[in-house]
C-alpha cells in the first residue's frame, strides 16, 4: 500500500494522559475513498485518535498525517479538507439552520455571494431545505445530526470524520444517516472515518474496520476477513437449538460439505461453515428424528467478532 492511496496515515501514534496511555503505538492507514469504521468500547481511544487526526490535540509521540499534511504542525491545511463531526455536536440554538451554516461557511472563507447557494445545496443533500429558516433549538437529535452533515459538506471535504454517527438515534433515523453517508461516499467520493461502538450498524456500510481496545489496534481488515480470522475460515455461523444433542449427530454434521467446525453448548449447536447449508442441516437432523426448536444464521457477524476480541481481555 503506497502512501498516495492513503488519506490518513498514523505511525507509532501514542497519547498519554497523566502517565496513562490512551492511544498506544497506533499504526493505521485509511485508504482514499473507503468507509473505515473505528470500533471499540467507550474509552478505547477512538475519540482521542480522532482529535489527534484533526489537530485538536497533540500526540505524545509518533505522527499522524492527513492527505500528506501533518495534523500537529499543519492543522489548518488538514482542517481545510477534513470535516469533523464531534460526538456531541452543538449548534447555536438561537440561530436558524441557515444562520449556523452561514457562520461555518464564513469561517471556511467561502466568498459571500456563494454562501447562499452553497447552503441550499448542502441542505438539499440532507433533505432539510424546508427547515432552513427554523431555529436550531426546535430540532430533534436526528435533525441536528443531519444539519451536522450539511455543516461539514459546506467546505467540500475530501475526508469526513464522524464520531459516533448513530449514537442516541432510533434505528430508522440511524439508517437514514448511514444511507446518506453511503451516498456521499459513492457520489462525491468522500472518504469516511466513522467511530462507533454500535457494530451491527457499522457493518452495513463500512468497507473496512479496525478494532481498538485500550488504545491498541487489535485487528483491522474487511468485516469478512475479520470473521475468517475468528472462526477459522467460516463465513457463516448457524446456531441450532435442539430437543437433544447426540454425539452421532455432531459427527454427521461435521462430515457435511463446507462445514468447518461444530461447537456444542448444552442443547445448542454452533455450526461454522462457508456456505448457507441450512437445508442440508435440517434434512440431516430430521433423519436423526430430533426436533429443532430454533435455527439462526449469522453472516459476517461483527458483533461476534467484537465480543470475541473483547472477551479476550
Amino acid at each position: 500500500m503506497s502512501d498516495e492511496n492513503n488519506i490518513i496515515i498514523s505511525k507509532g501514534l501514542s497519547k498519554k494522559y497523566n502517565e496513562h496511555l490512551v492511544v498506544d503505538n497506533l499504526n493505521l492507514a485509511i485508504e482514499k475513498g473507503e468507509i473505515f469504521g473505528l470500533l471499540g468500547p467507550n474509552g478505547a481511544g477512538k475519540s482521542t485518535f480522532i482529535l489527534m487526526a484533526t489537530g485538536l490535540t497533540e500526540p505524545s509521540s509518533g505522527s499522524i498525517n492527513v492527505a500528506g499534511f501533518n495534523s500537529t504542525r499543519q492543522p489548518l491545511e488538514v482542517k481545510r479538507i477534513t470535516g469533523y463531526l464531534p460526538e456531541k455536536i452543538g449548534f447555536y440554538n438561537d440561530m436558524t439552520a441557515r444562520g449556523n451554516l452561514a457562520y461555518t461557511a464564513e469561517l471556511n472563507n467561502i466568498p459571500y455571494r456563494e454562501i447562499s447557494k452553497k447552503i441550499d445545496e448542502v441542505l438539499e443533500i440532507v433533505t432539510m431545505t424546508k427547515k432552513k429558516n427554523q431555529l436550531v433549538k426546535t430540532f430533534s437529535k436526528g435533525m441536528k445530526q443531519r444539519l451536522g452533515i450539511a455543516d461539514v459538506l459546506i467546505k467540500d471535504p475530501r475526508l469526513v470524520i464522524f464520531d459516533e454517527p448513530t449514537e442516541g438515534l432510533d434505528l430508522k433515523v440511524a439508517n437514514q444517516i448511514l444511507q446518506t453517508i453511503l451516498d456521499l461516499n459513492k457520489q462525491k467520493n468522500i472518504t469516511f472515518l466513522l467511530s462507533s461502538h454500535q457494530l451491527n450498524l457499522m457493518q452495513k456500510i463500512c468497507s473496512r474496520v479496525g478494532i481498538l481496545s485500550k488504545g491498541k489496534l487489535i485487528s483491522e481488515g474487511t468485516v469478512e476477513n475479520l470473521g475468517r480470522k475468528l472462526f477459522g475460515g467460516g463465513k457463516y455461523r448457524i446456531e441450532l437449538e435442539l430437543e437433544k444433542v447426540t454425539d452421532t449427530l455432531i459427527e454427521k454434521l461435521k462430515k457435511l460439505d463446507k462445514v468447518l467446525n461444530v461447537n456444542k453448548v448444552g442443547n445448542q449447536l454452533q455450526v461454522i461453515c462457508d456456505k448457507d447449508i441450512r437445508q442440508d442441516i435440517s434434512r440431516l437432523i430430521a433423519t436423526e428424528d430430533i426436533l429443532i426448536t430454533r435455527m439462526d444464521m449469522k453472516q459476517d457477524a461483527l458483533e461476534e467478532i467484537y465480543l470475541k476480541y473483547f472477551k479476550e481481555e
Partner: protein
Amino acid sequence: MRSILTVYRKELTDHFSSNKFLILLALIYIAGLSSTYVALTNIRGVASSLSPHVFLYLFTIRGDVLPSFIDFISFFIPIIGIIFGFDAINSEKNSGNLSRILSQPIYRDSVINGKFLAGITTLSIIIASIVFIISGIGLFSIGVPPTSEEILRIFFFILICIFYGGFWMGLSILFSVTMEKTAASILTAIAIWIFLMFFLPIIANAIANGIAPPENASIANQIRNFNIAHSISRISPSTLFGEAISIILIPTNRLFQPTLLNIVQTPPQNPLSLGQSLIQVWPQLVIIVSLAIICFAISYIIFMKQEIRST
C-alpha cells in the same frame, strides 16, 4: 484575518440581541439619567462663576441620597465586564459548538480574540453612549458648552473606563477558560469583585489600625495609619480606577497628600491642567492596562494549549 472578523461580527450580533445587553443597558441608562438629574438640581450650589469646569460637574456631583455618575459607573463597569466574559469559552464548550468551530480552518486564537474584541466593543458602546447622552442633556440644560480641555478629559475618562472594563472582562474570560461550568466562573468573578471592592478596604483599615492604632493621636502615627491602609487598598484595581477617574474628572483633585492631614484645612485648590492630572494618575493607568493585558494573556495561553473535547 477574516476569521477574527467573522467571530467578532457573530459575537457582536449575539451581544446586541441578547437580553443581558438590554437589561444592562437599561440599568445603566436609568442610573446615568438619575445621577444627571441629581447633578443638575445641585449644580447651582456647587458651581460658582470661578469654577472653570462646570461641565464636568455633571458627572461628579453627588446628591443627598443618590450617588454621582462616577460612583455608579465604577460599580457597573465590573459587572458589564464580567457579564460579557464569564461564559465566553465554557458555554461554547458545553454546548458542543467549540469543537465544531475549531475544526474549521481557523487559528484557535481567532475565537478568543474575536470574543474579547466583541466584548470590549459592547462595553465601549454602553459607556460611551451614556456619557454622550449625559453630555447632551447637560449641554441642553446648563447651557455652558464644554471647553476643549473638558472634552479631552471626558475622552480620557471613557478610555480609562474601557481599560478598567477590559480588566474585568479579561479576568472573567480567564475563569471561563479554566472552569467548566458557567455558574462557577461567574460566581468566582463576582466573589473577587466583591472582595476587592468592599472587603479589601475594610481589611486594609483593620491592618492599619493594628499596626498604627488610631488612639495614638500623634500626627506621624495618623499619617502612618493612612499610608498603610491606602497602600493595601491599592491592591484593588477598583481603588486605582476610583483614584484615576476622580482626578481626571475633577481637575482640582490631586492624589491625597497625607502630610497635610489634620494640619491645615485644605484650601480650595486651583485646577490642574490636563497634562498634570494625567501625570498624577499615570501609574494607576499603567497598572489597570497591564492587569487587563495579563489576565487576557493568561487566558489566551491556557486556551491555546487546552484540549477541546466534545464530551
